[in-house]
Symmetry: C2
Subunit: 526 residues, 2 copies
């Protein structure tokens, strides 16, 4: 199939009239065909108006039909076959294996959300039956279910061209909730976006969905994205990207006549705590495994371990030595875009230039274009606490080891951290008491606490939390990965004494859908 540069608005293909964007192969610096002309305010208007028109009908489709749509999107993505992987490789510099894995995750994610829709937990259906004889006042019949919030704007992420882009986590969760989605494609991978977008558009048509359940827009600057978030028909926003970008969207959303929730996943340095017992047991192994996590995918993960916090025990030297050796052998990785590469290089240079920071090791020198040399530095706990610049995320394979004199200092460093997506403990049984004392702090600071693993690699599951207190995300009450993500796009509605023929099926007495429900607060027996 010949890839062409139109946007997808409802059932149509629409040629943009704004500045065109072109993908760049970061490994070669070459521009890729075709150009993708950006949309204008009129395209936002059209996409939002169609999404709004589709909303009422889409959300009241039977759960089975909505699930089938998600399954069809998954199937459609697989059907594109190798051209999708090849285009994504060219646009991102990511290797085939990684992208095939990411495709599997994306497809699995859509199918998992199809299961979530069929299961019906997400409706949080509740019935408190009437009590006409109650004194002093009778009780009405009260029934509750969740409804979708409305059309959702999704911003594709640079670092997951499949799993957190056009049909990625945010889109899957929003569609599963019953919300139409308007995606702003990430400018780094417009072709990949288009291929996936066509699969979604085709699945929507095959399922006979109302036009407007899905649209895909392009834009070079920030204007179109801002207009999308400001559009009165958009009711929530999903975003994964920089802190500055997330904060800008939060400001626009909060400044609307009707403010809306923004789920922005923005910034996290994912501290790893090295406890003495773990170092005594396996310092060398830890050093090597750490470098594996740090350099995976050129460090371009939201959960990349950008910070190590360790007690200054003699065994720490073994960790440092092993990490130095492993990093020294680590090849430079092609980064996603020239912009990300430049920002990484500047970030590493800035960090290296701080007087309080010492270099431990650098990875192999870069060879190709946009090739990021990994780096590991160290500093003292005192410098780390005093110098805010040391706590900023550097997106890429750079990390900083903070040396702590004693456990009290470890606690002070952790207490001083901003909100994080993850905090990892490397520990042995002898470290349990130390870890136990720190756990309450960790729970306040992060959405996920890991023991003896590495934060990269986020499982799509029921018990996953990929979220965390600000500024890791704009809303620490939610997750962007896993089935719980659907809750971000729902709100409860109560039906009081509504006659049976007018009640939604989920709340009928007979529970024909067979979904889990609470009756007077206890799970219904079926």
């Amino acid at each position: 199939m010949q890839l062409t540069g139109e946007m997808l608005i409802g059932r149509g293909s629409v040629e943009g009239h704004g500045d065109a964007m072109r993908a760049v192969n970061p490994a070669t610096g070459d521009e890729l065909d075709p150009p993708f002309p950006g949309g204008t305010q009129a395209d936002v208007e059209r996409a939002c108006s169609l999404a709004w028109a589709a909303f009422d009908a889409f959300r009241e489709m039977p759960l089975a039909a909505r699930a089938e749509f998600l399954d069809k999107v998954a199937g459609g993505i697989l059907e594109i076959g190798d051209p999708l992987i090849e285009r994504a490789m060219a646009e991102t510099g990511l290797p085939r294996g990684r992208l095939e894995g990411e495709r599997a995750r994306t497809v699995g994610q859509l199918r998992l959300f199809a299961d979530v829709v069929r299961n019906g937990w997400f409706l949080d259906a509740r019935i408190d039956p009437a009590q006409p004889e109650r004194k002093p006042l009778p009780r009405s019949d009260l029934r509750l279910r969740n409804v979708p919030v409305g059309p959702v704007a999704v911003f594709g992420a640079s670092n997951f061209p499949l799993a957190f882009s056009v049909a990625g986590g945010d889109t899957a969760a929003a569609l599963a909730a019953g919300c139409p989605v308007v995606v702003k494609a990430h400018p780094a991978h417009p072709g990949t976006s288009k291929l996936v977008g066509l699969a979604v558009q085709k699945a929507a048509a095959a399922c006979g969905l109302p036009e407007g359940v899905f649209s895909l827009l392009y834009a070079t600057g920030n204007e179109l994205g801002g207009a999308l978030v400001a559009d009165p028909r958009i009711q929530a926003v999903g975003f994964t990207g920089s802190r500055a970008g997330g904060l800008a969207l939060m400001r626009i959303a909060a400044g609307r006549p009707e403010p809306i929730p923004v789920y922005a996943e923005m910034s996290s340095i994912n501290p790893v705590l090295l406890f003495p017992g773990a170092l005594a047991e396996r310092a060398g192994e830890l050093g090597r495994a750490f470098v594996g996590s740090l350099t995976m995918g050129a460090g371009q993960f939201c959960t990349n371990p950008g910070l190590l916090i360790a007690l200054e025990v003699p065994e720490l030297d073994g960790f440092i030595q092993a990490a130095r050796d492993a990093l020294g052998a680590a090849p430079a990785g092609t980064m996603l875009t020239p912009g990300i590469f430049q920002a990484y290089r500047r970030g590493v240079e800035r960090l290296a230039a701080r007087p309080s920071v010492q270099e431990i090791a650098r990875g192999q020198l870069a060879s190709g274009a946009n090739s990021g040399q990994s780096a590991l530095f160290s500093t003292s706990a005192e410098s780390f606490v005093d110098d805010e610049a040391l706590r900023e995320e550097i997106f890429g394979a750079s990390s900083l080891l903070v040396r702590c004199r004693d456990l009290e200092t470890v606690r002070r460093v952790v207490e001083d951290l901003e909100g994080q997506l993850t905090i990892t403990l490397q520990m042995a049984e002898s470290d349990h008491e130390t870890a136990r004392a720190l756990l309450p702090v960790l729970e306040r600071k992060a959405g996920r606490i890991l023991v003896n693993g590495w934060p990269t690699g986020v499982e799509v599951a029921h018990a996953m939390v990929h979220g965390g207190p600000f500024p890791a995300t704009s809303d620490g009450r939610s997750t962007s990965v896993g089935t719980l993500a659907i809750r971000r796009f729902l709100r409860p509605v109560c039906y009081q004494d509504v006659p049976a023929p007018l009640l939604p099926t989920a709340l009928h007495d007979d529970n024909a859908l067979g979904i889990p429900r609470l009756i007077d607060g206890a799970l219904e027996r079926t």
Copy 2:
């Protein structure tokens, strides 16, 4: 017991150094003793610092102990006995029967949340067991539970001196979630607040809770409340009051270095739709019942029916006639404060002065101080849609009937509404199809849809939603009444491969707490 004017900060009584506030008996205009000197920034600092210090210990208390604390608060409120009712009557002008009912609701609400805590649903506990043999990659052991967000600032509401004030819905939900609470007392009922505050303080001491789980502050202006919302240790805000007040708190919260959620319940005119079938069946009865709901408690409910939307059928005259008669006989009601009374009078005058508005009836003339004369007006659908001033909430017993030529006009009027707490349908079986066509719009506009009832009187239950799209509340994804309110003060944390001895009890394999949990997404068999 002699009532004195100190604030309650942690275990102590603290004399304020700001301007003193005094309650006014709205029925007489008399000032009541004692004066309550307001707090300063130093008191906010002290209360928040204690709340923060208490947080980790309080949230990890056994669920049974937390539930016992809520039960003890309930018992303590009852133990105050008649002095609480008498003080509340003097401070609010509300009659004894209403306040005794409100006390029962407040106590029942605390006990219901104690049950919620014991039950453990709110933890949303989930376990996805490890799959060490999975290909291509093994799966880690993932466990999830909700943790409380942190200290919560609660602003007492003027119109529910017990049920939405010091130990009201917001406080009960926050404490149940495991969050320390700092209350800013409403200046209209400082004595009632103090009596209830002492009961909470005493219960906290009796349960051996860490100091700082509860504090109660006074202030005359907005400064202290603003400082409280801005304090970095406060992690969420509960507020019931005016739109201007709620918006101001939202701005402060959004402007913090770390933004926090604000749950503000602000403004709703609670439309009642009169369908032709209902009017044909019982126009007179509806007119009388409507006036009953409108004038109850001098109309000072968030869910007061401030708007009627009706088709211009001949039977509408019967409704109007009955409402006119009933309203003409309705005595003026003492309003909560001179300020609320003045605002009501101005609001009614403004509405009456609009050229497009006709008076249908007024209630009996006011006699005592701060006594609000109820009022009913009518206007055309066209004027209503054109004139934003007609859509503003007038807090008190005033309502506006919007006459609609046809069903399409009804739909247009409803589509044009802002977000509401409630929308009510008065209908007969012959109106079902009309109602069905409107339901999707109603679900988008309101948190609760009622049929053949009246919006006043909010049941505290599992299936209740007292919330709704902006500006009814600042966050339509939640409710401030009912057990679901606890979710506002929770956030999920995932534990990945955390060794059993370090896991929270709720996530132990043996489920010793006997709480409901999802294992791989399906309810655990126990």
